[in-house]
Amino acid sequence: MAVAAGRSALCAGDQLCSKIVLVTEEPDFLQGSPAPAVLHAALALDTGTEVEQRVGGGVAAVDALSAARAGTLVIAVSSSEPAGAAAIILSTEDELRSIGRAYRSLPTRIHPVSGEMVNYADPRLTRERGNLAGARALLGNAVPLAVTGVGSDRKRLGVDTAVTPEAAAGAAEPLFALAEFYESGQSGQLLAVEDASAAMLEVAPSGKVLRIDREAQDADGLPKLVPGDVPLSLPAYDRAFTAKVGFLGGRCTCGELSYPPRTVCLTCGRSEAPTLVPLPRTGEVYTKTTIRTSVPGLACPYSLAIVALDGVEVRVLGHVTDAPAGNVEIGERCELVLRRIALRHSVVDYGYAVRLIGGRQ
């Protein structure tokens, strides 16, 4: 999700990205996180680009935004329902200015390092002493145009909010709200609430929405993970990583294109490291199948497709994503998107999956 959001922000504009701040509510890893390397490879960033990871929800996202300099790409990922991700790249430092912050502790949602998320089972306490108390601590006489992190309780604050991001919650919600500010050309204040803490931003009218990609998937009918594990070789993971996560082919001096990149060219026989080049990300389904038996360590059922990429003599094999298993036909148009392919001995294995985009050739 983070890569999809980041790609939307980067691809749509010409702003150079010098730093990434990734805000996640529930990071997959405390140590050994693949996130910086995956972002670098998948977004084709300059090797000097710093990646900073922050843990938190809406307030953490607003903190990251107010601290960001020009050229910083802020990506926020919500894992609470509805899950989602949003990204903003800043062109000037004046766009967003912090006008207040109130940290308070009333831990009604707790996620211990080892264990499951615990929600305190008292909505009234959560609301009156938590969220709304946090909001009121910062609100004063301000009249924010958007309040995030409180859901429909925003009405109880007595503030008439013009901007209410739909279908968003958690860390990404303030970014969705900002997108609506920019879309409607408004300037004003944004108040983000997370547990009992709050942060407020002054939003200048200079921003513009580069691109909005909305992806949604119904959680019902999703594949079920079958107990078991997929064997992993870390050296093999390492050798494949750059080309696999960056979706890069190998271009030989003679022009031959290979994927995965080959060290010995099939056309001219040269034995040298090929130049890595980006591959086209659209194509057509050449063949497919749907696996309905149970495969240990994988979410079943799932569909596989071989896609002939547009304009090059390269085909790729991948999972069909963002669609129920079985909904794929030969000849369908599709694009390749970064996805989590498997969890192998607790290591997240990323690669490209096939997303159908409608139409046939």
């Binding site: 070789s233 093999a236 993971y237 494949a240 995965p260 497919k288 038996t293 149970s294």
Partner: protein, 385 residues
């Protein structure tokens, strides 16, 4: 090269053989092969042995063969070449005798797919069949491996699931009268079409069962054959073919180039053309694969396989009976044993002793294709006149 013959052949019934490990199955199959030699043979006549096995249970395969069969004084080599293992083991033994190194040799094939849970065995073995970083995590399991081919094949040639079902109906019918077969019951087209889906387009009855089993052959040089039998079966040709290991690299998925390569070599060596084959045992791990094989083996033109199965030309009594034993589909498929057991069936066919005898059969062909559809082995046999 010296001419090489099969002088003995035997196997144990394929099935869920929970009572027998590799160390029990090997001696049983070897004893059956030794007992089939017309004029008798002593164990000490065997000068070398090859074991075909993907993943021997009970530990170190070559050693288990030597140890369990009392063959400690001869060299034993294990062959592993995915589902082409059995016929490749035959090829290796035939070359060793043909070269003059040995006069009499043993080939045994064995595997136990029911030693671990049904959803684990082939998945565990995938680790040696798929690229670890690129293909393994995608869950390209064995049926999917073939389904990607058959989906495209059906799309290009207007082949239907009913055509696939007809292969299951034919091979199940043949297995009923084969006492060594795993699935000895008939199915009809409706039952095949209405079975639970495993891997589109393959339902449960389109798939081979997971079988345990072992089979053995005794090979001899032409100049010593008379000591053992008046009715040898001659190994006239063999071939081994390879192909790209990643499915995304296979340009035309309506064919198995490995089979085409292996077949071309085997026909050239035997000096015959496909029209001369009277009976064949081909790799029908999934129904649609048997149809593709008809074309790759030269039994018909491209796209004509559906006509062959529709007209019953590959049924018993047809122009070219295919898989009279029941095939992998119904006889069963312990991979290392499969190719060897095909030759056991054809040994009996060419000597007029088969359970489902093809009248007057003179030329026979055995074929495997496997791994990431990247290897094929073909053996061509001729009966004594």
């Amino acid at each position: 090269m010296r001419t090489v013959a099969l002088i003995g052949a035997g196997m144990i019934p394929f099935g869920e053989r929970f009572e027998a490990g590799t160390k029990e199955m090997l001696p049983a199959a070897v004893a059956a092969a030794l007992a089939s030699v017309d004029k008798g043979i002593e164990r000490r006549d065997l000068q070398a042995a090859w074991l075909g096995s993907l993943q021997p249970s009970d530990g170190f395969g070559s050693g288990v063969l030597a140890d369990s069969c009392g063959l400690l004084d001869i060299p034993v080599t294990r062959v592993e070449n995915a589902c082409a293992t059995g016929n490749d083991a035959v090829r290796n033994a035939a070359m060793a005798i043909g070269s003059g190194t040995f006069d009499v040799a043993l080939v045994v094939g064995a595997d136990k797919t029911r030693e671990t849970p049904t959803n684990a065995t082939f998945w565990d073995w995938m680790n040696m069949m798929r690229d670890s970083a690129w293909d393994l995590p995608l869950g390209l399991i064995a049926p999917a491996n073939f389904a990607l081919h058959v989906s495209r094949y059906m799309h290009e040639y207007g082949v239907t699931k009913t055509h696939l079902a007809l292969v299951a109906v034919k091979n199940h019918k043949n297995a009923v009268t084969n006492p060594f077969a795993h699935l000895r019951f008939e199915v009809d087209v409706d039952r095949v079409l209405n079975a639970p889906m495993v891997c589109d387009p393959f339902g449960m009855y389109d798939c081979t069962p997971q079988s345990d089993g072992a089979a053995a052959l005794i090979l001899a040089s032409a100049h010593v054959v008379d000591r053992y039998t008046e009715r040898p079966v001659w190994i006239r040709g063999f071939g081994l073919g390879l192909d790209r290991v990643m499915h995304a690299h296979k340009r035309d998925m309506t064919t198995f180039p490995a089979t085409v390569r292996a077949t071309k070599a085997a026909y050239a060596m035997a000096g015959i053309s496909p029209e001369e084959i009277d009976v064949a045992e081909v790799h029908d791990c999934f129904t649609g694969v048997e149809l593709m094989n008809y074309e790759d083996l030269g039994f018909c033109d491209r796209g004509e396989a559906k006509t062959l199965i529709e007209k019953g030309e590959t049924s018993l009594g047809g122009r070219l009976p295919v898989n009279p034993s029941g095939g992998l589909k119904a006889k069963g498929h312990p991979p290392g044993a499969t190719g060897v057991a095909q030759c056991v069936e054809l040994f009996e066919q060419l000597r007029g002793q088969a359970a489902n005898q093809v009248d007057g059969a003179r030329w026979a062909l055995a074929h495997n294709v496997g791994g990431p559809t990247a290897v094929s082995a073909v053996t061509i046999l001729e009966g004594s006149r």
